[in-house]
Symmetry: C2
Subunit: 298 residues, 2 copies
């Protein structure tokens, strides 16, 4: 079938390459940047470049744009998509996008599904596109009660064929809560970590832990500030949570209270160990506190 990819940056470009590499589908690429289109054609990442009016040919369209552009492109070109075809966005937040796109496409017969391929690199643009970023990664589907089950199934199978390691389904709201913790918070903390003035004296002192903690400090500030603001309550909760915990270690340290400091560290160590063995059984008192639930598709 014909699959369109709208926006061939790091993610869209990688998706083009992955579809070409792993399937026999025809890939049609759309990008406003003519150099990107030329590069994608030259390296065989796409079979053909298209304009929005040609989206009507496609069985599946992936919108691989920034959140605001995803919504504005869909609104502007809503009549270009074929009724019955599948449209999926790949934004890193889902509730805001699903809220905007689902009511837009429902009356047109287009089958919209929110997705989030959990992959990325510290670089942007087609030049860094690489289908290997999806190998073993999670592909999140965020259907609602109105999502076509067949469209969901089609995307599930496609993601599997592209090499994703886990296909997970979640509500848009639960996705956003989890992603605030596992991805957005990581980017804020990493970006905050690097700001100590001691950075300018760290030459020779930066071991693996420092490099790990600061790797994703190198981020696209325009994209991430947009994503953060689209997920405000969940990210605020995570920020308040980690700030609160950091203040506990700080207080124990300031008090010279070794017993408390040791217990605080032990608690974190045990949680990490539980998460490593996949035994996501929370300590008894937290069983009711979980913020989000998901199930993994078979």
């Amino acid at each position: 079938m014909k699959i369109a990819v709208v926006g061939m940056g790091l993610m869209g470009g990688s998706l083009c390459k992955a579809i070409k590499h792993h399937t026999n589908h025809t890939v049609l690429g759309l990008d406003t940047d003519s150099h990107t289109v030329a590069r994608a054609l030259a390296c065989g990442a796409i079979d053909r470049a298209i304009v929005p009016e040609e989206l009507v040919e496609c069985a599946i369209t992936f919108l691989c744009l920034f959140p605001d552009t995803t919504i504005s492109f869909a609104r502007e070109h809503v009549d270009c998509f074929k009724s019955g075809s599948i449209v999926a966005d790949i934004c890193g937040v889902k509730q805001a996008i699903v809220d905007a796109l689902e009511p837009l496409f429902l009356p047109t017969g287009v089958r919209y599904v929110g997705t989030h391929p959990m992959a990325g690199r510290e670089f942007s643009g087609f030049a860094y596109a690489d289908d290997r970023i999806f190998q073993g990664a999670s592909f999140i589907l965020t259907p609602t009660a109105k999502t076509c089950p067949l469209a969901l199934h089609t995307l599930h199978d496609l993601a599997e064929s592209l090499g994703f390691g886990r296909i997970v389904t979640s509500t848009p709201a639960d996705h956003d809560k989890s992603i605030a913790f596992t991805s957005q918070l990581a980017h804020v903390v990493s970006n905050a970590y690097i700001k100590s003035p001691t950075l300018w004296n760290e030459s020779g002192f930066s071991a693996g832990s420092f490099l790990d903690l600061t790797r994703v400090a190198k981020l696209n500030e325009e994209m991430w500030s947009t994503l953060f603001l689209l997920n405000r309550p969940a990210l605020l909760f995570e920020l308040d949570t980690i700030i609160g915990h950091l203040q506990e270690y700080r207080a124990a340290l300031a008090d010279g209270d070794k017993d408390t400091l040791r217990e605080l560290l032990k608690d974190g160590r045990i949680r990490k160990e539980l998460s490593l063995i996949g035994d996501a059984t929370p300590p008894e008192e937290e069983k009711e506190d979980g913020l989000a639930t998901h199930k993994q598709l078979d």
Copy 2:
């Protein structure tokens, strides 16, 4: 020459293996755990097991114990070391150890040098000892005005022969300030990060950034709480710094202030990029704020 290693845990055991692997020196091992001694002998990590009274044979002794045990062992066995021989500790904080050991050894003619091989794993004990952990790592030497230059030179050359990538010299105080930022803070932040209740719902949502941020949450709480308390002012400074920065992002997010949020992220991104290209030139206004200086030995 004969080199003694006192304490054959992860670090001491790895050091034994590295010396055997890279040099022709004789390695004598001392540990209170007979199983560890037996294992070290069986795998050829040491040539011979010794008791403290045999330390007198050795040209160099590495004390590879926890900070408090390093000091108590040295005090208890100060008469066992040969005058003129070199004794080096490998503790992750230096001022407190140097302050205790230097006046202890100076009157005996033993040439004490504080060192810090910046390597480690998320596991403890001889079972995980691996000489490869030192490959390319930094070896920090923290001499004082009273340190014998020749002893410093001997340890420098030995570290180089063991495969360390950089040999850095620093004052004990400056070492402790840098290590508070590049290592201790990483362990606290990682340990705090894992404590969100959202952890129990992250299945399928944990991409590389989450794994990076939480890797060192798995730590030895006894050792790290001791190290943190021995470096209180520097670690408090780093904790206050990151908490202050996190509160800036938090405020911008709560206010829905995208311009400020973008600028905060951009500032972090630029600092990370500068640190990556090794251009440790701070922004103009911070040039006087640096907390520590080191030089790299040729």
